[in-house]
């Protein structure tokens, strides 16, 4: 079976635009699709601006930036995805949206087309069921920001075949990402194994074993982590972090290890979401943290 030449990315939010940028920077002609024309224009402008900034910083040559820009096409017509070899879906995390997209793509694309979904929380096995041949679909999970984070989790659904996994691994390496392969389990690897870093820190803090500041210092200086669990929640967004924990918890059908902490919910209720609200576990309004 042939490798991938032409790529399509569905959804032009932060993730979709980031993935499209990675693809075109690595020489792949890419079509970015969205139902919203305005959002699409915004995403394209963002990608172009980021490429220009890379030129200013001397990370890439002007020529490379121009070539990359020429490889990006945008469309609101799903039918123009007819000839792509790989579709990476990065639409909102709602099953009915993904279902409708894959139903249409099933009829539009060739039987050889490889399908991937960037979902971080939904079942790959369920999404694969939306196309006629579920062996051709796998998870392809990027980390935010996609142009910078080196990891991609390739997720094998119950029906995904080995050839699909191999081709996606090959593609991941071609776009200079580091692929790991995992089974279709809640939270895949990273979002699952990282849960205790936040959850247990919240528990320790709430039980008065140590303060927020102490826990962050200890994890950095005794453990060698680059950021403490509370600094990192402030950076990610406490609401985002809680949402991930909730999803993993419910996907494991209430496994005790993943139970969210009520204190994290209180922070969200108080509107203290982290850096983006200038206050979370730390304050960011007046002084530099």
């Amino acid at each position: 079976m042939e490798g991938v030449n032409k790529v399509a990315v569905i959804g032009s939010g932060t993730m979709g635009a980031g993935i499209a940028q990675v693809a075109i920077q690595n020489g792949y002609s890419s079509i970015l699709y969205d139902i919203d024309q305005q959002q699409l224009a915004k995403a394209k402008a963002q990608v172009f601006k980021r490429l220009e900034r890379l030129v200013e910083k001397g990370r890439i040559l002007d020529e490379e930036s121009i070539q990359a820009k020429e490889k990006l096409m945008v469309t609101t017509d799903l039918k123009s995805l007819e000839k792509v070899d790989l579709v990476i879906e990065a639409a909102p995390e709602k099953l009915d949206i993904k279902k409708s997209i894959f139903h249409q793509l099933n009829d539009i694309c060739s039987p050889e087309t490889l399908f991937a979904t960037n979902t971080s929380s939904l079942s790959i096995t369920e999404i694969a069921g939306y196309i006629q041949d579920p062996s051709r679909l796998a998870g392809f999970h990027f980390f935010n920001p996609a142009p910078l984070m080196p990891l991609v989790e390739i997720v094998q659904g119950i029906s995904t075949n080995q050839d699909t996994i191999n081709r996606l691994k090959d593609f991941a390496e071609k776009i200079h990402k580091y692929p790991v392969v995992c089974q279709d389990t809640p939270g895949f690897i990273v979002n699952r194994v990282a849960r205790p870093f936040y959850n247990e820190a919240l528990r320790i803090m709430n039980d008065q074993v140590a303060s927020v500041e102490q826990i962050d210092r200890i994890m950095k200086k005794a453990g060698g982590f680059k950021m403490g669990p509370f600094e990192l929640q402030d950076l990610i967004g406490i609401d985002i972090n809680l949402a991930t924990t909730r999803t993993v918890y419910s996907s494991f059908y209430g496994e005790n290890r993943f139970r969210p902490h009520y204190y994290q919910e209180r922070m969200v209720q108080a509107g203290r979401l982290g850096r983006k609200t200038e206050g979370g576990f730390y304050d960011y309004a007046s002084a530099e943290h």
């Binding site: 699952r192 194994v193 205790p196 826990i215 200890i218 200086k221 982590f225 005790n256």
Partner: protein, 256 residues
């Protein structure tokens, strides 16, 4: 004020004890001794490091009680038991302070200590001063099994071991995912081999018993590794060795 280096005795047959002994020698604590009963009577600070076996820990404390000076301060590792519980095994419980001691304790920049309910301030102060002389930063936290860093890391490692045992991904992919997806300094499985898989088990076991919650239940594979003695770097065998064995086995069984 210049703090004098005191006479220190270490009691414990594990990597943590050796790691602290190396650290003391490196910092010119000339009189420091390791598992030397004849030195115990002269020690002003006694460091005790058993993390796994309760009867072993009790024996260590009884030996210190019998052979050491009754005025000496005792710094005892509290991965599996609280400082309050360990102190209760002594004739004079007010002289014991808990601390976190994974196998690599000597190399870490910061050490956590925790007083038990009975600990008196002069013993806490002495323990702090001597740790500072060894070049360590100190955080004082409340007395709970596993303190902060050993507790959080052990839970991360436990989750990674659950994922490995369930066949979610290979050991190498689990480690690399955490390093490249969230910037962890080490992958959780290789980290477990470094700090001692038996120590991770000790922390989880302690929390499971103290707090009585399902969330602290050690993965079955983790227990089995401890029984098999595949506890990481110290034994030369650990999670990666286990994975290799499992792969060999499955191909052998196919040939039967």
């Amino acid at each position: 004020m210049i703090m004098p280096q005191l006479n220190i005795s270490i009691i414990g047959r594990n990597q943590a004890a050796e790691s602290i002994f190396t650290l003391l020698k490196h910092n010119y604590f000339e009189s420091a001794s390791l598992n030397n009963d004849s030195q115990l009577a002269h020690a002003e600070l006694i460091i005790e490091t058993e993390n796994l076996e309760r009867h072993e820990k009790i024996n260590n404390l009884k030996r210190i009680d019998g052979l050491g000076s009754q005025g000496a301060t005792i710094l005892s590792s509290t991965l599996q038991w609280t400082a309050t519980e360990v102190a209760s095994w002594l004739t004079h419980p007010e002289r014991l302070v808990g601390f976190g001691a994974f196998a690599d304790v000597g190399q870490s920049q910061l050490i956590e200590i925790a007083p038990g309910l009975q600990t008196e301030p002069q013993h806490l102060q002495l323990a702090k001063d001597q740790l500072k002389l060894m070049g360590k930063e100190i955080e004082m936290v409340e007395d709970e099994a596993g303190l902060v860093y050993p507790r959080i890391l052990s839970l991360i490692i436990n989750e990674a071991i659950f994922a490995l045992a369930e066949g979610t991904a290979s050991a190498e992919d689990i480690d690399n995912a955490m390093k490249k997806g969230t910037n962890y300094p080490d992958g959780p499985l290789e980290w477990a081999e470094k700090v001692g898989i038996d120590n991770v088990y000790a922390v989880l076991n302690g929390l499971y018993r103290q707090l009585g919650e399902e969330r602290y239940r050690p993965a079955s594979l983790l227990r089995k590794l401890v029984y098999a003695g595949w506890t990481g770097r110290a034994s030369g065998k650990g999670l990666y060795y286990y994975e290799q064995q499992r792969l060999n086995h499955s191909s052998n069984y196919q040939n039967v």
